[in-house]
Amino acid sequence: MATASILRTPVVLRPDTKGRVGLESLLRRAREYLGGVQIAGLAAEVASDGTITLRPRVEVDAETAQVLRVSQRDAEAFAEALSHPPKPNAALRNAAKRWSKTVESR
């Protein structure tokens, strides 16, 4: 299985008034990953206020993964790119020219 490991958006667990942390948000995150994507490991950081930040290491199988969960800031950048699409850069334009002249695409 071809996999790539990716450090994804961290899960932050904040303690309640009794100093306990629940794992609901982590479990919810785990369920949200669909076929071909799984959490392969977790790196934990504990802050002095008891907040625990878990950074999931995600393995993606390029063959069967059908979804990517996108963080809010990336979603906003994506929306911005869709509404104001960048012009193709020089490398892409040059490759397209070469493609038109030299490739028979069937």
């Binding site: 993964a65 990517l68 906003e76 994506f78 911005e80 892409l92 040059n94 493609w99």
Partner: protein, 166 residues
């Protein structure tokens, strides 16, 4: 070097293909045929017209979607419709033997143009690539693909950008 790029067929001798990345070679040797037949991905093969049985590169396309995390304090107005459908370039590889001849760049153009043509019939909003490592991600950035800040091994190009490519 001219290229033919066409759907994977039995006439392609896949077994001798080598791009220097074992996972990409092995997948092409052992799994590409079944993946294409079962329509998990579609596999597209580049050959030199003078040696049409010898693949010098390939890419595979798959359906894909993005789903968006929401901030606990409420959704930003800028968040796009969830889920958002895109085409995925799952794999792309050029043979070691043709390195430096622009095969990778032309495979990429062929992939995004094919995805764009498909999007005119079944709409998708962009092309996402799954880069296997940082050098692969750098290849896509060179061609203007935008990396996700929180997931730098996935990059994208809006379909509207591809539409202006002639």
């Amino acid at each position: 070097m001219n290229l033919i790029i066409e759907a994977l067929a039995d006439s392609h001798d896949r077994q001798r293909f080598s791009c220097g990345v074992e996972a990409l070679d092995r997948w092409f040797h052992d799994q590409a045929g079944q993946s294409h037949r079962k329509r998990r991905t579609t596999v597209w093969v580049a050959t030199d017209p003078t040696t049409p049985a010898t693949p010098v590169g390939y890419y595979s396309l798959a359906p894909f979607h993005l789903t968006f995390e929401q901030a606990p304090e409420g959704m930003s107005k800028k968040l796009p419709k969830d889920p958002l459908y895109v085409a995925l370039i799952a794999r792309l590889a050029a043979a070691t033997a043709v390195r430096g001849q622009g095969v990778g760049g032309r495979l990429l153009i062929d992939a995004v143009k094919r995805a764009h043509r498909a999007s005119l019939q079944v709409p998708t909003h962009g092309v996402v690539v799954h880069a296997k490592d940082e050098p692969a991600a750098a290849f896509y950035r060179h061609y203007g693909f935008l990396p996700f800040a929180d997931d730098a091994l996935h990059l994208y190009l809006p379909m509207a950008t591809i539409a202006t490519l002639h």
